[in-house]
């Protein structure tokens, strides 16, 4: 008994008090900022392993970016990665960061379905499906529920059965061999339900984009409610994205 109390004393309070304002330690490659500096555009575009960098104007698509940071090393005056971990949004256009701007990534309130805040703002149960994920986003989604990030305090939890879920969180580039299980799982979730794509691989295929072993047909059939960029996603990116999604009331904005 005494030992247990000692352990609890040393354990202390671990949860991050405010997930929206927490500062990350050291360096973190979050939202990139692109300056207007003139550089060799062709070299920059060619450098990117996943074709995330576009030209005229120069831009980075966070849905394709693997956050390797090589562009910032090659062109340090052009591109810097800030520690801003709020990267999630619900529109593909808003995932694109263009040169000369330094704006936070926000959700487009007009795209949020009204039933989301109505039903899910106080409680959201999610079913996770890894479809070719490399276990990095999966580990970070697990971390969302640990004692540090403690997502459960917001009523957001992962559940074992799709029958108990209000939505699906997909990780990985959607392998062909997971196409059927993913569809079955989605169909088993009762309406209304949401779809969240977690990680660069899920949003665009990432480095696997174009692989013949993928089948991304599932994504063409449904509206995606939230894109969470990252390789892997940071737990704070996920938690803030989901909170913004369920707490934004489209009628009040």
């Amino acid at each position: 008994m005494f030992n247990t109390l000692k352990i609890l004393f040393h354990h202390g309070r671990q949860s991050i008090p405010n997930v929206a304002t927490a500062e990350l330690p050291g360096i973190f490659r979050g939202r990139p900022v692109i300056t207007n500096e003139k550089i060799d555009t062709a070299a920059l575009v060619k450098l990117c392993p996943t074709g995330a960098i576009g030209s005229s104007p120069i831009s980075i698509d966070l849905g394709k970016c693997t956050f390797c940071g090589e562009c910032a090393f090659a062109f340090p005056n052009k591109i810097t990665f800030t520690k801003d971990y709020k990267l999630a949004t619900n529109s593909l256009e808003r995932l694109i960061v263009t040169e000369g701007t330094n704006q936070p990534v926000l959700l487009d309130a007009s795209l949020i379905r009204s039933e989301i805040s109505k039903y899910f703002s106080g409680s959201l149960k999610l079913r996770q499906v890894s479809a070719g994920g490399d276990n990095s986003c999966e580990m970070e989604l697990n971390a969302c529920g640990n004692v540090n990030f403690d997502m459960g305090r917001f009523g957001i939890e992962f559940v074992a059965s799709p029958r108990h879920a209000d939505g699906i969180v997909i990780t990985g580039p959607l392998s062909e061999n997971m196409a059927l299980p993913l569809q079955i799982c989605y169909d088993a979730i009762p309406e209304p339900k949401i779809i969240i794509l977690a990680g660069t691989d899920a949003i665009s295929g990432g480095i696997f984009s174009g692989s013949p072993a993928l089948n991304r047909h599932f994504l063409n059939q449904y509206k995606i409610d939230l894109y969470v960029p990252g390789n892997p996603i940071h737990p704070l990116t996920f938690i803030n994205g989901v909170l913004d999604l369920i707490r934004t009331n489209p009628r009040h904005t």
Binding site: N3, C68, S130, S136, A143
Partner: protein
Amino acid sequence: MNHIAVKNNERLSLTSIPRSDYERFLEHNTALLDDSANHCVTYFGVPEDGKIKLICGIANDNEHNIYLSCAEINRTEILPSFSKHHLAFQVFERELHENFGINFSDHPWLKPVRFAFDRADKDSCIEYYPFYQSDSVELHEVGVGPIHAGIIEPGHFRFICNGEQILHLEIQLGFQHRGIERLFLEKKTLLQRTTLAESIAGDTVAGHTTAFVNLWEALCGFQADDELRFTRTLALELERIAVHTGDLSAICTDIGYQLGNAVFGRLRTPIINFFQQWCGNRLAKGLIRAGNNHFPFDKELGIALKNMLDQYKPDFNEICQKTFRQPSVLSRLEKTGVVSWEQAGSIGAVGMAARASGSERDIRKTHPHDKYINLGHQPVIKHHGDVYSRVQVRKAEIIQSIGYIRDLLMHLPAESREKKELGSPAANSIVISLTEGWRGEICHCAITDQQGALRHYKIKDPSIHNWVALALAVRNNEISDFPVCNKSFNLSYSGHDL
């Protein structure tokens, strides 16, 4: 001589591998495995002039060598199998069968491996996997997956049970197949290939990326300097501490021990946060690069890491003492999920799972690379092969790794002032790269063509061998003990499915 001996990460001309006819090739390699100091690290086929060239690599733990040999066969031939003599070859031959349609006359279990997109039999499909079945009215089957209750990767487990008791488990994988080996050839830039290596298994970023960059540098004839070798070794040991700690937490979850789950879980956080502090990514993606280092390890980082470990270790020891003295914890771990030394040897088990069954196998000792060459590593060995042995190996390896990191921090490498050019890969070459990831032995093998372009890339995650160990471990256990058995191995789905 029927083989040529190479060292880990040594470049070799492809034509210098001795070629024999298939019968002698079989006889030679299966005879090598009669010696328990030898094990198969890779065995694969490469299409060549309409035929298939089979290349087999057997590692010798005492001489620190890898014995390479090859044979050429036609796709249509029906061959006697290696697996008939040694089960350790079974998965390699199943892969040859799946990829090229090569048939074996006496393979005991010629089933699909991962339903690769470029498989020979396009009519086969993952929905119709040929499960082992029982007709007995006394027994029942339990199917679990591919999607599991927790947030983990997909795979299907089919149990045949007598009441609560598991008689047989068959593990069907392949759901995670992304075609990585083919992408290594199709993606042409080094950065793309490094990104691929980082994505083989996201829990083993340091392991797989180290294997790749060591291989690539060997192909290019590049000598890594002290700074690069320091970075890789430190990343490997940090990754080992992080995952082992996380797995101890998950094992506590699976036996319903909440305190252990919470405390081990939060102890993992500062380790992966240190990766972020160092390289901007909690799982070390972006850290390891061939011939280059973006993240010099300065004194300040060294002090931060030392302080973090100084805080970690007493708390870790405290929770270990509490957890592993609880009779209710030990009763769930001891004698659960036993893999005997004989079984581990016969299936070619590797890594910490093999070491928990009394095997000494550890690349850090037998085929050292980077800073391990001067480390004098002694593997942690346990002998019972049960869940508790695997827990004890993890616990002891965490303490050992902390010691290694403290040693490494005593001599921080000087930042390399002159950047050497990496160069380009040599033509007609082969390199085998072995790395001891936290799970066990990772093997990458590359072959270049006449222009020095990649012609073949072969990846072997330790899980390839060890999934069979899990299937054997759960036999005669209660089905309710499956989760804790599974977590004690924590094998990779994506590393297996590629």
